[in-house]
Symmetry: none
Subunit: 208 residues, 4 copies
């Protein structure tokens, strides 16, 4: 599954063709040049359209960035929820979170890269409220799963606010390194190692 599929999934139909084209090209430019360094004119040139058309579809530059960002977040959550649905035990659930994270980044490296850089801009921009709103809805499934009875018994005691970092921190760290080219090995190739390490670090250890 590649970028085109992701877009077709998010914005289906023939009418939205130009919109999807702008999305695709803007995503590439934002990653290659940086969000601030990418001008509307560059996007216009790449898409062979007019600045007016871009403003017609996305309102303004921040609107385009936010739209891309939300698309990325929601696609990532979609995969996570799909993996989580198949997990029965707590260990399988943790594995699902690590696998889905790693797999999504490797399948959608452009969207992943963009998401890392765009979060800062969107968090401060006029769409920050919409972001908070969407975060809530999007993470409902995850919170439900975490809250299921019996979880606490299988995990080492630890503050709730620490848990997300313990679960996804190592995978996240490696994915960032891979996206920035500091390491070569594909995240997917290490997903078992990452999931096992994570599980060892948070499971409740048997009493001696």
């Amino acid at each position: 599954m590649d970028t085109a599929d992701l877009l077709e999934r998010s914005y289906p139909g023939r009418r939205a063709e130009l919109k999807r084209d702008i999305f695709r090209k803007a995503l590439r430019l934002f990653n290659e040049q940086g969000i601030e360094a990418t001008t509307i004119e560059m996007i216009r040139a790449e898409c062979d359209t007019s600045v007016g058309a871009i403003y017609h579809h996305f309102g303004n530059k921040e609107g385009l960035v936010a739209a891309l960002f939300f698309t990325a977040l929601e696609d990532q959550a979609r995969l996570r929820d799909a993996y989580l649905a198949d997990a029965t035990t707590t260990e399988e659930g943790v594995q699902a979170l690590v696998y889905s994270y790693v797999d999504w980044v490797e399948n959608q490296p452009e969207w992943a890269r963009f998401q890392y850089h765009a979060r800062y801009a969107v968090t401060r921009g006029p769409h920050k409220d919409e972001l908070v709103e969407r975060n809530k809805t999007r993470n409902l499934g995850l919170r439900t799963w975490l809250a299921e009875s019996g979880r606490a018994a299988e995990l080492n005691e630890c503050p709730a606010e620490l848990l997300p970092s313990l679960i996804v921190g190592q995978a996240d760290s490696y994915c960032r390194a891979w996206l920035s080219g500091r390491v070569q090995g594909s995240p997917k190739a290490y997903r078992e190692l990452l999931a096992q390490a994570t599980w060892r670090s948070i499971r409740r250890e048997p009493e001696r």
Copy 2:
């Protein structure tokens, strides 16, 4: 130890007073407004100096960002190496890495926050070569420690490129969350939990 101390350490002497003042104020503005959104004029006004003086000392905006960034990296490495020097066992070494990371972020939250955002800019800007160069020298101590005989025997087998993410990923993730205000608990308060989790995830487990 606060920001002023860090600066006095990096740029000692009376002559460098203005330079240190620009540093301090620019750091704050970059964090508050964002690097791109902070203008030279804002810094000038804050320091009650002239644009010429800023350019005289740092060449240009990118030079100022790079100087701040290198200062942060080197101060962070200084603490890491100090902690590492006291570690004897491998477990203590891993603990030193986690503790120094967490402690530095909490002691220098402004520098830490800046460093996260500035890396992207410096990596792409005209100081990228200097960054690579400095990275090499700065991390010599760490690489030496990691290469010491006996390490492999105490750690679970894993690719070398994966190890840094396993060691520092969880702490890094939590520090980012704390700096951005998504969590409240101080990183230092969790440093034992983080170090233990890390160690459990990478130590070589006894054969059953």
Copy 3:
């Protein structure tokens, strides 16, 4: 024929009205204040437009200077080729070159003055290659005429690279003096004297 005509000839049509206006006003300012001393803001104020419009049409200041310069060169060549077309003998050809040079400078003193000062800037700027290119095409007619059979027999032997200076040097020198106000007499009033002097200096003299 004045500056307005020259421009209407070079950039015809109603759409180009603003472009022509910028041209006209910029030419005057460049001559009055000097090219370097003329700021985009001065041109903007004079044309009652926006800086953006100037950049939209000419790219940047160097682009505007180059556009003016090429317009001058091409208009001058147009007149030269027209005069040359009517010449049959070699003497008439030389006369055509001197007359057209002198007449053009007097008819278009602003363009002539500008051309003298802009050559230096364009030769060193980013349009230098375009200049070389255009020089070739523009001087095709002249080179053809000079190469016609029989020329050598009517002229004193002299190196080819010296000939242009012999033909146009005196007229050029006087035109510069006139444009800078060092002399009063109109170049056109002296065009016969200049052409005769030139012809005497290069014609093949009868054997004694």
Copy 4:
């Protein structure tokens, strides 16, 4: 005779060493980079001195340009007057003017090149009155020679304001072409051809 000699001649003595060094290096920079594009800082770096020292010796940038310009003009006039002193006939005088012009440009190409570009700046700057003043004194010898009885009888009738261009126009034109690299042949190699052409163009022709 080269640039160093010219300077030793104009500013003799040991104390003036730094002054001469600034002169030499500034001349080169002005020619290589252009007068406006050369900054005081560039000159300072080249001379390994301080900006203060430059201002101490020349007042300001315009003062430095003017000092260089006057040095060039006066050296050129010195050679011209020396050549003229040896001429007895009118033809020899014209020859002396052409030869001295050509020889000086070839002996002092840097000063010649500079003089062409600096005239414009000095003519408009605060030293313009000094220029007019100096022109008068400097050209006394030339005007005396031109006014000597009998000249008119040997020259074709022509307006006085036209004569300088007739005499020096061709040589000047070729020298400019040579300095700008448009032609290769050394001016000196063509000095006889140039002087002869000039003489044929202005001498009084025998009645038929």
